[in-house]
Amino acid sequence: MTHALAYAKSEMPATVRTLETRTEEAPLAVSVRDLVKRYGDGTEANRGISLNVRRGEVVAILGPNGAGKTTFLRQVSTELRPTAGAVSVFGVDAVAEPDCAKRMMGITPQEAGVFEALTVREHFEFFARFKNLAKREAREAAHEVIAELGLVNETNKRVGALSGGQRRRILIGLALLGHAPLLVLDEPTTGLDPSSRRAVWGVIRHAVDRGATVILSTHYMEEAESLSDRIAIIAEGRLLAFGTLDELLARLTRSYRLSYRDPFDPTGDFRVRHCASFAEAQQHISRELLSEYSIARASLEDVYFALTGELFDQSETEASR
């Protein structure tokens, strides 16, 4: 794979400017300033991350394993106290007043357990009550979320009898209860099969249509591209890039991706070369006498690679398709 990808500021396309204007106008939902998390052993999981999330936006956090995505989300969701920096959720200081901030959030942690002996309905009804819903409202909210998540046939089944994917959907559903204005979802679709994943995307989109703001971390490029308004790429605890997909792509100077099979190694894997223009890709094809190739515009995966220097986990990307 060709590694030489240069980054440069380029002019923002008109469509991007329109979206930017729209999001710039919306009031802030979450404001993060110089967020630092340093653990006792000296490890710095987050090193001065700053970003704003506008109301109604979906922001995807991408990054390699150990990049600091979960640490970032745990600090935003008040589960982890930052070493330094500020987090504001709808104007509430989430560091100083975590309980107040939490009232405005629906949270799906990356690793959380369910009560295996409870039924699906009981899970939602009990947890809706914690969100200050009256008994009847809790029952209605439970029915609504069960229907949205496609778990109607499992309503009265014990959670212990459900598959891993169905349990994961329950965790997402718990965050959706009560229509919290901010959803913080840490890898919400990890472990789900492609159709369940798409169903969850639908649920998230529906929540956004109702006015929710969403911050989610994901391992799936397709998920970030499909769901989010803006994408934050984090590596080694730093925010490397934050913007719309078009903004991120516009920063690539070599924005064409040529995939080809080496004619001298016909059984080898496909190789990738990034080119500045379509013409440059064609020239390479002629020069190298390539017969098996494809040319495409660069994707988020290319941006990710350019920024982090790491290949995206192919197995996970494939699994999502």
Partner: protein
């Protein structure tokens, strides 16, 4: 109002979780303490030589049952919630950690009430002569549960792993009964242990339960000691049980 709802919900979640384990729970709550009662009676000569022995053994078995319920099983439940990620679910919600602890405490109280009632029935069935002072007995059991649950909460909050925590709760649950003069008179203990044993919550609990089962009410010292210990252990437990990590 919100706090009361939260506590009731936590309690109901634990109760619903135990539906399928109610039978084994009752069996365990009865078999161990009843077995200990019979064992103690047998090795002491069946209470032929000492009129007070059956009452002491029944009181000891009730305290044993309370200790199992409050430290071993409650501790296990808290550890399970913590190390299987269920605690995280609560931590994501706008509820206070104390509501979670109180909800679990109420659950332990219900368990204790069931186990104590069952043991009193067993006591009657095997012919133990008693004139229980029920109002006082309820107070003693309540304070004992709070005190021992506090210890369970502390262990569950401090344990570094599930296995470490469950080992500690099992050791404390049984150890606090057998290291205290619960089934036998304090004079039968080694002198070096006697002082230490006198300060254990199970010692005060056993004495108070025995007195109330006999119809007595002179348990002021025991109630005071149990109250102070309950406040201390629960205060420590609440302090350690936090949603937010540093």
């Amino acid at each position: 109002m919100k706090r009361a709802t939260d506590i009731i919900c936590v309690f109901r979640i634990q109760l619903a979780s135990m539906r399928r384990e109610a039978g084994p729970f009752l069996l365990a709550a009865l078999v161990f303490p009843s077995g200990m009662y019979l064992f103690a009676s047998a090795i002491s000569g069946g209470g032929v030589n000492h009129e007070q022995n059956p009452l002491r053994f029944l009181a000891g078995s009730i305290v044993f049952s309370l200790s199992l319920t409050s430290i071993s099983w409650l501790g296990y439940l808290l550890l399970e919630n913590r190390f299987t990620g269920r605690l995280k679910l609560f931590a994501t919600l706008p509820i206070a950690p104390s509501s979670y602890v109180f909800g679990v405490l109420v659950f332990a109280l219900v368990q204790a009430a069931m186990a104590t009632t069952a043991l009193l029935i067993v006591g009657r069935a095997v012919g133990v002569r008693m004139r229980p002072n029920f109002p006082l007995l309820v107070v003693v059991i309540l304070l004992t549960i709070l005190c021992l649950c506090g210890l369970g909460v502390v262990v569950a909050a401090c344990a570094r792993s599930f296995s470490q925590g469950s080992l500690l709760t099992d050791t404390l649950g049984a150890g606090l009964v057998f290291l205290a003069p619960v089934y036998y008179a304090p004079e039968m203990m080694p002198r070096s242990l006697r002082m230490f044993a006198q300060l254990l919550p199970t010692t005060f609990a056993a004495q108070a339960v025995k007195t109330t089962l006999g119809g007595g009410h002179a348990i002021g010292v025991e109630l005071l000691a149990l109250s102070l210990m309950a406040v201390a252990t629960l205060a420590l437990g609440f302090r350690l049980m936090r949603w937010r990590e540093e």
